[in-house]
């Protein structure tokens, strides 16, 4: 009797597992990219793992994964030749058969010690260099997901480092001026102080996969190579008994 119960329990567990976990499909993608004004063609591969609410792509030699509705942060990485560190964050948007896995990049100076203050909320990242004043300057900032309020402190002794401006939502375009490098404002009498901020989280590149026609497009957000198109197929791998 106990044996029978165990068997049923086992079958129940198997069925439960089959119903709860969303199946993942692995795709092998290949691209033959023709360079303009040349007969050169470069060959490239990509590997995807796709399930109902997640997508992984083989990027920088490991699988980078994102789940719908969540932001995934990769570790900070030193860019020795640029004197900066950068960090990528991933987000996934799914619309029926279309998946879009976006890679956002933020930069900061190589040494955090050179930065007076770092603020971060969601995908927005600020760094200030200088001396903080007592007067906070409130600015409403919209992200792509929701509206958040940040307090930017007026600072002096501003120093620059390269970064990227955040994309402003349409309704708040007027604020984009405020984020344009250094601004001066009056703090009383004839004294002017400046502040500097960068919400330097920009879209670096994205993978757009259509599971119906099995196409993958890698979109770059710079001028050198706009996009790369791949044809994908379900990856048929060698089985252990074929090894």
């Amino acid at each position: 009797m106990a044996l029978k119960i165990n068997k049923f329990f086992l079958i129940f567990l198997i069925l439960l597992d089959g119903c709860t976990s969303s199946p993942e499909t692995e795709y092998f993608c290949e691209s033959y990219h023709k360079y303009p004004n040349s007969d050169d063609v470069s060959y490239d591969q990509a590997i995807l793992k796709v399930s109902d609410n997640s997508m992984c792509v083989m990027d920088r030699e490991i699988f980078q994964c994102a789940t719908s509705g969540k932001i995934t942060y990769l570790p900070w990485k030193n860019q020795f030749n640029k004197g900066t560190e950068d960090q990528y964050s991933l987000s996934l948007a799914r619309n029926n058969k279309n998946y879009k896995l976006s890679f956002y990049k933020i930069e900061r100076p190589e040494s955090e010690g050179s930065v007076t203050k770092i603020e971060r909320s969601g995908r927005i990242y600020f760094s200030y260099k200088g001396v903080e004043l007592n007067l906070p300057l409130s600015i409403n900032q919209a992200t792509e997901e929701n509206i958040k309020t940040f307090t930017l402190y007026a600072i002096s002794n501003v120093e620059y480092w390269n970064g990227r401006m955040i994309r402003m939502s349409d309704s708040l375009k007027s604020y984009s001026e405020i984020f344009d490098d250094v601004k001066n404002y009056g703090v009383g009498g004839s004294t002017f102080k400046s502040y500097y901020t960068r919400a330097n989280n920009g879209l670096a590149y994205s993978y757009e996969f259509n599971s119906q026609d099995k196409s993958l497009i890698l979109n770059f957000n710079d001028e050198t190579l706009k996009e790369r198109q791949y044809r994908c197929d379900v990856w048929i791998k060698q089985k252990w008994w074929q090894l």
Partner: protein, 161 residues
Amino acid sequence: MVSKKKLLLPLAVFITLGILSVRATEQFLYPDLNCSGKFNKNKKWIRETGNKLPKILENENLDLSWSVLIRRDSITIENDRFPFYKELSHIDNFAKKTNIGITGGYKIDFIQHYKYEFTYNKITNQLTVELNARGKHVIENEVGDDILKATFLGKCERKWL
């Protein structure tokens, strides 16, 4: 009571036969081949401008032997490996099994242009390889195109043990 020494000899014979039969079965399914035949290579150079008469750089017709290793996951022809399954690589070498044997190749189109195609016919035991290549080449300060055509047609034999 049988002594240990008397058991040792049949055991050694049994193990040796076992190894040989495993190797023979493996060789039967996944053979090493030696393909002997004619290799023809023709390389010419054509100036980009001016006199476009081709200059013959190489013209060979040789008797050669090429090795072909057929494995569960790939076929290797003279050190060029062609996998049957997609795998991460910087090149697009591929092979697929057909009713009469194996076919495959690779293509490189970056600065130099190569197209390599092969067919191994297991019924006639014949290997055919065709290589077409093209690329820029400067000779005596003049730019031109190297055009290479090479073919190999060989009859293959198994290498046993």
